[in-house]
């Protein structure tokens, strides 16, 4: 029960080998590009590692880098096999090598497709990680004198300016956190004492945001204190003022940015098609071996037996090996 049988006359075999050689070089380049994309993604994730709570999302760039390198190697060998395929004398030395080669290639193709799926699945985990990381960043913004946290202020300020965002979900996150350190608060002042008494935790909360939330596109100078108080500023309406500070939250901005980076994966398709053609070439060449006239028409196929039987053929040796190791104490 042969799967997808096709007839290959000599000229068709030659054309198949040539086309496949070119295709495998393109696929090698695509593998290199995938590896580079993985490196770029990893670098970008590490740049903002301070606002991420965990590194779970790093599995996507790691897989991309692994698959890129493997694809480079696989397609290099595919090219070499194609070059030798048309010479019936040189082809037999690849014979023993081909079965494990196909197994590993299929594995890496599946892995590449998996990484594409993973980048969509990881979105939720990334968002969670950012939520916790940003919440901590905003909480420790004022602790510029605490070792281990003294750069949080700088990081959050730079982040908000670079990504044009404010706060975690939006700018109101700053209203719920004391972001001005006690070192700079005059505790003898009435205003400060009132604010501290106004909440249970004794924190100095105000309806203001740091300067890094200010939007340079605003036509008027930035209003960062008493944002919700319309009467504190001339000709100002908090509800309709859209350009004063950034309205987008940093979590959304960062997720959007990273999702955009991860959606540039498409080389898996190319490697897959290379593999299919190579299989046809191999089976066609096998039939030629041993014949006197190398220019005869031969048949090529994807799988010699049915799908189930082929899988059993690969799994049986593995099963027997594990059985043997279990018997040995």
């Amino acid at each position: 029960m042969v799967v997808m049988k096709m007839k290959f006359p000599f000229e068709k075999r030659v054309k198949l080998a040539q086309g496949l050689w070119v295709l495998s070089w393109f696929a090698a380049v695509a593998g290199a590009i995938t590896f580079t994309l993985g490196c770029i993604l990893k670098t970008e994730l590490r740049k903002r590692a301070e606002v991420m709570d965990n590194t779970d999302v790093h599995v996507v760039p790691n897989t991309l880098m692994l698959v890129g390198l493997a694809s480079l190697g696989i397609n290099y060998f595919a090219g070499k096999i194609c070059q030798d395929a048309l010479d019936a004398g040189r082809f037999p030395r690849w014979k023993t090598f081909l079965k494990p080669y196909f197994a590993t290639s299929c594995f890496f193709t599946v892995l590449m497709l998996l990484s594409v799926v993973m980048s969509y699945v990881m979105k939720g985990s990334l968002e969670n990680s950012l939520k916790i990381g940003l919440r901590n960043g905003i909480r420790f913004y004022k602790d510029t004198d605490t070792p281990g946290r003294c750069f949080q202020k700088q990081n959050i300020d730079r982040l908000q300016m670079d990504f044009q965002c404010c706060g975690n979900t939006d700018h109101r996150d700053w209203f719920e956190v004391q972001w001005i350190s006690n070192r700079y608060l005059d505790f003898s002042s009435k205003d400060v004492k009132d604010r501290i008494k106004s909440n249970v935790d004794g924190r100095y909360l105000l309806d203001g945001v740091p300067f890094s939330c200010c939007n340079p596109s605003s036509p008027r100078p930035c209003i960062q204190y008493q944002i919700t108080n319309n009467s504190a500023h001339y000709n100002y309406d908090y509800q309709t003022e859209e350009l004063n500070i950034y309205l987008r939250g940093c979590r959304e901005a960062l997720v959007h940015y990273y999702m955009g980076l991860m959606n540039t994966i498409g080389a898996g398709v190319l490697t897959g098609s290379v593999l299919v053609c190579l299989r046809y070439l191999q089976t066609a060449m096998e039939a030629v071996a041993g014949q006197e006239n190398t220019e005869i028409e031969t048949e090529g196929y994807l799988l010699e037996k049915g799908v189930k039987e082929t899988i059993m053929e690969y799994v049986d040796p593995v099963r027997m090996y594990s059985h043997l190791t279990r018997l040995r104490p």
Binding site: W179, P210, P216, Y234, N235
Partner: protein, 342 residues
């Protein structure tokens, strides 16, 4: 007394021609590099042209771009010539073109040198241009409702944030300019009216700076209003507070940025100039060697190559005489058929 005389055998001549062919193709590449450097510089200047008052600085990138294009053409032609010069029969085709080509290339390399020197000398003009440009930009910072100036605020804010600078020479420049538009000033308030009356021109001046002057390195939240008033803020002394606002002026910041770019470009262009000079010398040697071969008649013999046939003074004198006699195509006094002596 020839200048720089070297004797060439036939094999050496062929090797020289091949080497020059390769060097000319490398020169085409360096011409492309020159072109792209000029393009890069132009883009960099264009990015900040709103804070530059005049556009004369654009001469430098334009010079580099034209020189790069001309270098590509000249060296492409040179490569072709050198490829064919190995053969004396083909050399005859190019014989008449070669000397003008060498003269043109010599003047062209001079232009490359001028381009390199311009990169180093443009600094003063740039400083003046930035001073005027930034002063105007700060003056029109508040005019976000005037067509033609509505994006100046955004430009200045982004500039100050990106280059980590404040004002023209320092943050105090903002104290002399009204940077808050009248649209956002409550004219009924006594504070506003006092400030407006406190100066001759009726401008709303204050010791405050825009938010883009705030430094991200400061351990405390930014103090941008009442910067010089120590009592307005708790635990604050503006004389000792170094990290609150950016201390550097934007003129200095931009000047440093452009000077470093142009210094590196100038260095690369100087190296390219030296390389072109080397190629030109090689072509001159090849030309004189091939001409001497033709003069001697035997294509396989040794010939001399030189840079100048006679010494520098004699060559200059003879060229000067040629130029002097160019105007006189016809010596009336010497012609025996006119006014014959009877």
């Amino acid at each position: 007394m020839a200048v720089g005389k070297v004797t060439f055998t036939k094999a050496e001549r062929e090797k020289l021609a091949q080497l020059l062919w390769l060097l000319n193709w490398i020169s085409v590449l360096t011409g492309v590099i020159l072109f792209s450097l000029g393009l890069f510089l132009r883009v960099e200047i264009q990015k900040r042209q709103e804070v530059m008052s005049d556009q004369e600085i654009l001469y430098v990138p334009h010079m580099l771009i034209t020189t790069g294009l001309v270098a590509c053409c000249i060296n492409f032609l040179g490569g072709k010539i050198c490829y064919e010069c190995t053969d004396t029969s083909k050399f005859l085709r190019w014989k008449l073109v070669l000397l003008p080509y060498i003269v043109c290339t010599f003047f062209f390399t001079f232009c490359v040198l001028v381009g390199a020197l311009m990169c180093y000398s443009i600094r003063n003009q740039l400083e003046e241009s930035l001073f005027l440009g930034l002063r105007n930009a700060m003056r029109y910072y508040k005019d976000t409702d005037t067509p033609g100036r509505c994006f100046l605020k955004r430009t200045v804010d982004l500039l100050q944030m990106q280059f980590q600078c404040c004002g023209n020479a320092g943050y105090r420049d903002w104290f002399h300019v009204q940077w808050i538009s009248n649209r956002y000033l409550d004219m009924t308030s006594s504070d506003v009216r006092d400030r407006l009356r406190s100066n001759v021109e009726g401008k709303y001046l204050m010791d405050g700076v825009p938010f883009s002057c705030c430094s991200t390195l400061s351990p405390r939240p930014c103090i941008q209003q009442q910067v010089t008033n120590n009592s307005a803020h708790y635990n604050y002394r503006h004389q000792t507070e170094q990290l609150n606002l950016w201390r550097r002026g934007c003129r200095q910041a931009l000047l440093d940025h452009y000077t470093s770019i142009m210094r590196s470009i100038g260095l690369i262009v100087l190296l390219i100039w030296l390389f072109e000079l080397l190629v030109l010398t090689g072509v001159r040697y090849l030309q004189t060697a091939m001409e001497n071969v033709l003069r001697l008649g035997n294509p396989d013999c040794e010939s001399d190559g030189w840079i100048l046939e006679n010494s520098l003074a004699e060559t200059a004198r003879s060229n000067f005489n040629i130029i002097k006699n160019l105007g006189k195509c016809y010596q009336v006094d010497d012609d025996p058929n006119i006014n014959p002596v009877s």
